[in-house]
């Protein structure tokens, strides 16, 4: 293991500048990466190919340092990774970093590279599905309310009809009673007025 965790050197290969980053790129080593990488590639012209095959470990700060490095090369130089070990690629992909610098086959699907966005989309979909459920529930409730309303109206009509019949039958009963009992009862006593004892 190297004293300071990470080794950086650059060499010219077929017109490209191969930047070799090896060792363990943790938060301690990450602090010095940018400066050392810039110094190394300053002497070698051409597009930068960053060889990561010797990188044994990268942490979150290290991954951010790599991302920063490929995004901020001087003089418009471009950079791409090659021979990125699986474990390093896993960290970059989990963090959604330096995706453009990884070979296309090494990039994960967008939902893994951008977990926040994917989570938002998932949440939005769930909410939409929930809204649809809400709406269909409301519609179902509306339909059942309409059915209940119709049956209430029907019942009301029935009751009204029963009421009408009751009124009619009570009227008929009264008419039957009138000649025999009640009317004579009322008229049999003294008529309430004009009262003979009272002065008018």
């Amino acid at each position: 293991m190297a004293d300071d965790g990470v080794q950086v050197r650059a060499a010219s290969l077929n017109g490209a500048c191969v930047l070799w980053i090896a060792g363990e790129l943790d938060l301690i080593a990450a602090g010095a990466l940018a400066e050392r990488a810039r110094a190394a590639i300053a002497a070698v012209p051409g597009p930068v190919v960053i060889d990561l095959s010797g990188l044994k470990f990268v942490d979150v700060r290290g991954a951010h340092a790599l991302d920063e490095l490929v995004r901020t090369l001087p003089d418009g130089r471009t950079a791409a990774f090659r021979r990125c070990p699986l474990r390093v690629r896993r960290v970059l992909n989990l963090l959604g970093l330096a995706a453009d610098a990884l070979p296309a086959r090494d990039r994960t699907a967008p939902q893994l590279a951008m977990p926040e966005l994917a989570a938002q989309v998932r949440r939005a979909r769930l909410e939409a599905a929930g809204s649809i459920l809400d709406v269909s529930g409301t519609l179902a409730r509306l339909a059942s309310t309409r059915v209940r309303l119709a049956s209430t109206i029907e019942r009301a009509g029935l009751l009204r009809e029963q009421g009408r019949q009751a009124v009619a039958s009570s009227r008929a009963a009264r008419q039957q009673l009138t000649p025999a009992g009640r009317e004579p009862e009322l008229s049999a006593g003294q008529p309430p007025s004009p009262s003979p004892g009272l002065p008018l």
């Binding site: 293991m1 965790g5 363990e24 943790d26 938060l27 301690i28 470990f57 942490d59 979150v60 700060r61 951010h64 474990r87 960290v91 989990l94 963090l95 959604g96 970093l97 977990p115 926040e116």
Partner: protein, 138 residues
């Protein structure tokens, strides 16, 4: 098996090697063992950067789970008083996208964090192969 180790900014590489050996010895497959290393390293780095510069790790196997317990002493009362109580440590241990704790949350099967001005205690749990996780630690 149990690993107990104190660490600071100068001993993080040694800590990673010890954690890898412990995880492999506990029966963790290679890929997952490196997840354990990364998670413990990030928690240790948090302790180094935000928890007073040093910390303590204990790793043990409990009921088919590898428990990694990381604690630090925080910044002490004097530091906490200069700011506003709990907010110092709590803010520093926030899980932000792209940050260490955020990654640890993805890597570990369970993660519990207790943090305050007097220090932090974090437990990351990894289920060993052949066991169903979730039966230890409430």
């Amino acid at each position: 098996m149990t690993l107990e180790n104190s660490f600071d900014s100068g001993t993080l590489p040694d800590l990673r090697r010890a954690v890898l050996a412990e995880a492999v010895a506990a029966g963790m497959p290679d890929d997952r063992a490196h997840d354990v290393v990364l998670a413990v390293h990030e928690l240790a780095a948090n302790a180094v950067c935000h928890g007073g510069g040093a910390g303590w790790l204990r790793m043990e196997t409990v009921l088919g789970e590898l428990h990694c317990f990381i604690s630090d002493a925080g910044w002490g009362d004097a530091h906490a008083r200069t700011r506003t109580g709990n907010t110092v440590a709590v803010r520093q241990w926030l899980i932000r996208p792209g940050h260490g704790l955020w990654l640890v949350r993805d890597l570990a099967d369970h993660l519990s964090i207790m943090s305050g001005p007097a220090g932090s205690e974090v437990t990351a749990m990894f289920t060993l192969p052949g066991h169903r996780g979730g039966h230890a630690i409430s």
